[in-house]
Amino acid sequence: MKIIEKIKANKSDDNLTEIQKICLHKLQSSPLPNPKSELWRLSNKSKLSNFLDYSVNEKDSKFDIPYPKNSQSTIRLIIGDNCQIKLIEKNYSIQQLSEDELQKYIKEQISFFKQNENWSDLLNLSLSCKNNILGLKINGSKIPPIEIFSHASSNSLNAKTLVIFLEKNCDIELLQVNLGKENSSLTQSTFFCLKENSSVNHGVVSYGENRSNLLNSLNVIQQKNSAYNLGSLHFKFNYARFEISIKQSAGNAKTNIKGMQITKKDEQISTYTKIEFNGPNGFLDQINKSLADDKSHAIFEGSIIVPKIAQRTDASQLSRNLLLSKLAQIDTKPQLEIIADDVKCKHGATISQLNEEELFYMRTRGITLTEASKLQLSSYFQEIISFIPISKDKWDLLDKLLNEN
């Protein structure tokens, strides 16, 4: 674990930013997460150490990732690509955050971090150099869809950070794509701050190649009357963790999450979500789907926290899982922690395989077993995929899921 040794050694490097120094300092006493803690206990230790085995890459070889063609109507940004953006139009503006703004916000976030819970973010921020941090301030209306890409380069560990401020009454569609490369590790941390009355349709699509790894962390703060819709999809990673933390800072906000992870071979992909309601009248509708095949392992752990102040919260969480092979494993743990009494909270979890009766029906109608299973799977996937905003069609997600091995 080269990275960890480097963190331990703490060579003072003048090139480091202040944030990197703070995070390195925080990590120094215990550079690895506690393997016995609830959040890390199921995580494959050797895969995690493989993640940390690459040396940090700060420069990207730009053109080795085949992005689909950009349409004119979307704004495309690639983190680490020295992208400069300053768009001031009649209805809207998209500007880069100044260094001071960026530093102030990240520092504030770090002050709430706990070593174990936010380990992925601490690692990301301690490795992410200036070039690889993108901060955006978005204001206005009728904003064209935005695509933001992060990618890893082979044989290296890449750290990318994204900070987005969404000003009041602003409404955007954002697709974030994280691409893994063969034998690579990518840590992506995203910080989202939704001001009052703003709304986002956020898509997160992450897929890798042979033996690529991903630590993807998403921190969202929602102010009053904001709406946050997230559609996420993770697949083809040797090891991937998707950590979502959403805070409704004063309640009265809406959150919709539809996520999916697909594991094959000996992959391990996990999703951890933590949703806190810090005010009344919050709303959450979450569904997480997993599919585990071959010898793979899919994990979902979701917690909903409703303190006393969060009266009239309406939260539901559903974990649906398909287990397709005898050697695959699924762990799921939806959990509720509730103190407020006037709330509607429910969660559900199911684990099963493809519905045999439906398969049988389709076969009696002349559809082959393979086709029938594909049909079933596509309906299973479609619910999530249709929730991912914009330009997803360009990516042929359904086709990738059904036909690639």
Binding site: L323, K326, Q329, K333, L336, A340, K344, I351
Partner: protein, 500 residues
């Protein structure tokens, strides 16, 4: 209807009934019913000195005239316990327990051998009478055989002769050690090994008494069996051990009840219950737990750290846990089923009620190992006051559990805005050809329903009681007749004063 309620009711009757605040206050008042079993029996007891070490364990073993295998079992467990750390993963907060400040053996002084109940100290009988436990022969009508455990030892077991006619063995575990050593040696610690967890190891080292049940092949136990646990002294812990073995095609229904006096110190109760069901056997284990829960400020009360586990060894065997948990300052309890036999069935029905500063972290584990195994979990949590009520459950499908099914449902009801209800279901599957379903919900007493009932002339208290009763109905229906009444009464005391 409780007197306290009438006062509150009258004081409030001029206000709007469906006013939120009024109802909340009413519910809170209704919830405050004092503990009725808090008396102490003044009886001479024999206690050993405080503390825990090998000598103490040898002394306990010697007092109970145990064979060597059992002493070895205890010492081995003690060694393991010393190396273990007290678990801290449960959502519980409590003062550190000083294990050297506990008396590990306490027994009421009485004549050496008792041949009939007449020779039992009348004070003891009186105690059990006060608790409403039918020890005396007049109470034969109830048709329940009782094993009464007072502090560390079993006082009396009723109906033994009748049971013996059917070949059923029902006695205290100390007696079983003497008379049926082979069975004890064969089965003790096979379901809950000494090294299973911290409290099970402690229990294995120092367990004092408990009940032993053996149902021979093909016998349906002619009456319900019951044990009643009473902690009397404030400084001694209770460590009982229950072992139930149901041979092929037999069946038994076992009831367990518990109470303790009010002390302002915390008393430790760390029990182990092991159930073994062979082919086609069925065991139904029901608990109504009403240990003293501490006062409103959370002073005193029992720390209840219990390991209960059943092993469905045989094909088509069935183990069913049903429990009503109302007492204890702290409850840490997960009655579990290991479903080994093909087509074996595990069930768990639970109502857990917490009030004031009580904390409960309870649930179940259903480990599906054999094929076509089935399990059902129904858990109802009611939290009032400043209490904390957590459901924590594990459902695991092993690689060989083809065609297995699980259904879990856990519902929580919150009364007042200070109580907390948590749900932590762990679900793990390694078998594609199995199905797991889990659902959970949280609610409070619905204003609309309350208003509706009241508009139909049903008084507030009764309406709340009906609603809580309805909330728990799925579980109460599973309790044996003899217990359903007690459970109803208990909720009536605890919540109902009224609610229940």
């Amino acid at each position: 209807m409780g007197v306290s309620f009438v006062k509150v009711y009258k004081a409030n009757c001029n206000k709007l009934f469906f006013d939120n605040m009024v109802n909340e206050n009413l519910v809170k008042d209704v919830v405050k019913e004092p503990y009725k079993y808090g008396f102490v029996t003044d009886i001479e007891t024999e206690k050993i000195e405080k503390g825990l070490n090998e000598d103490i364990i040898k002394l306990i073993s010697q007092k109970k005239e145990e064979p060597k295998f059992l002493l070895d079992f205890r010492l081995k467990a003690f060694k393991k316990w010393q190396k273990m750390k007290e678990p801290d993963w449960a959502a519980l907060g409590y003062k550190k327990i000083d294990y050297q400040d506990i008396i590990y053996y306490s027994a009421p002084k009485q004549k050496e051998k008792i041949s009939s109940l007449d020779e039992v100290d009348p004070k003891l009988l009186e105690t059990f009478d006060k608790l409403g436990i039918p020890l005396t022969e007049q109470k034969k009508l109830t048709n329940v055989a009782v094993d009464a455990v007072f502090d560390s030892v079993s006082i009396a077991t009723t109906f033994r002769e009748e049971l013996a006619e059917h070949g059923v063995i029902f006695c205290s575990i100390s007696e079983a050690v003497k008379n049926h050593a082979d069975l004890i040696e064969k089965y003790l610690g096979t379901v809950v090994p000494a090294s299973d967890n911290y409290f099970a190891a402690l229990n294995s080292a120092v367990f004092s008494d408990g009940s032993f049940v053996y149902i021979p092949k093909g016998i349906t136990c002619p009456m319900d069996l019951s044990s009643y646990f009473r902690i009397n002294s404030g400084d001694s812990g209770q460590f009982e051990r229950t072992l139930i073995i149901a041979e092929e095609s037999s069946s038994v229904s076992y009831l367990e009840g518990c109470t303790a006096p009010m002390f302002d110190t915390n008393t430790l109760h760390a029990a182990v219950v092991e159930l073994i069901a062979l082919d086609d056997a069925s065991i139904k284990y029901s608990t109504v737990q009403n240990w003293y829960a501490g006062d409103e400020e959370g002073i005193g009360g029992i720390f209840n750290f219990v390991t209960k586990r059943g092993k469905c060894l045989g094909k088509r065997s069935k183990i069913s846990w049903s429990q009503v948990e109302t007492g204890s300052a702290i409850t840490w309890k997960y009655p579990s089923c290991l479903l080994l036999g093909e087509e074996s069935v595990g069930e768990f029905y639970s109502v857990a009620l917490t009030n004031n500063l009580q904390q409960a972290d309870t649930g179940t584990k259903m480990i599906h190992i054999g094929p076509k195994t089935k399990s059902t979990i129904v858990s109802k949590g009611i939290s009032a006051g400043n209490s904390k009520n957590s459901y924590r459950g594990l459902v695991k499908m092993g690689t060989k559990a083809t065609g297995s099914r699980n259904y879990s449902q856990c519902d929580s009801m919150l009364i007042g805005d200070q109580a907390s209800a948590n749900t932590f279901p762990y679900i793990k599957s390694q078998q594609p050809n199995s199905e797991i379903e889990h659902e959970a919900s949280t609610c409070r007493i619905s204003e609309d329903q309350l208003f509706y009932l009241q508009s139909r002339g049903i008084e507030f208290e009764e309406a709340v009681s009906m609603m809580v009763s309805g909330f728990c109905r799925d579980v109460f229906n599973q309790l044996p007749m003899e217990f359903a009444a007690e459970a109803d009464k208990l909720l009536a005391l605890k919540l109902e004063g009224s609610v229940g």
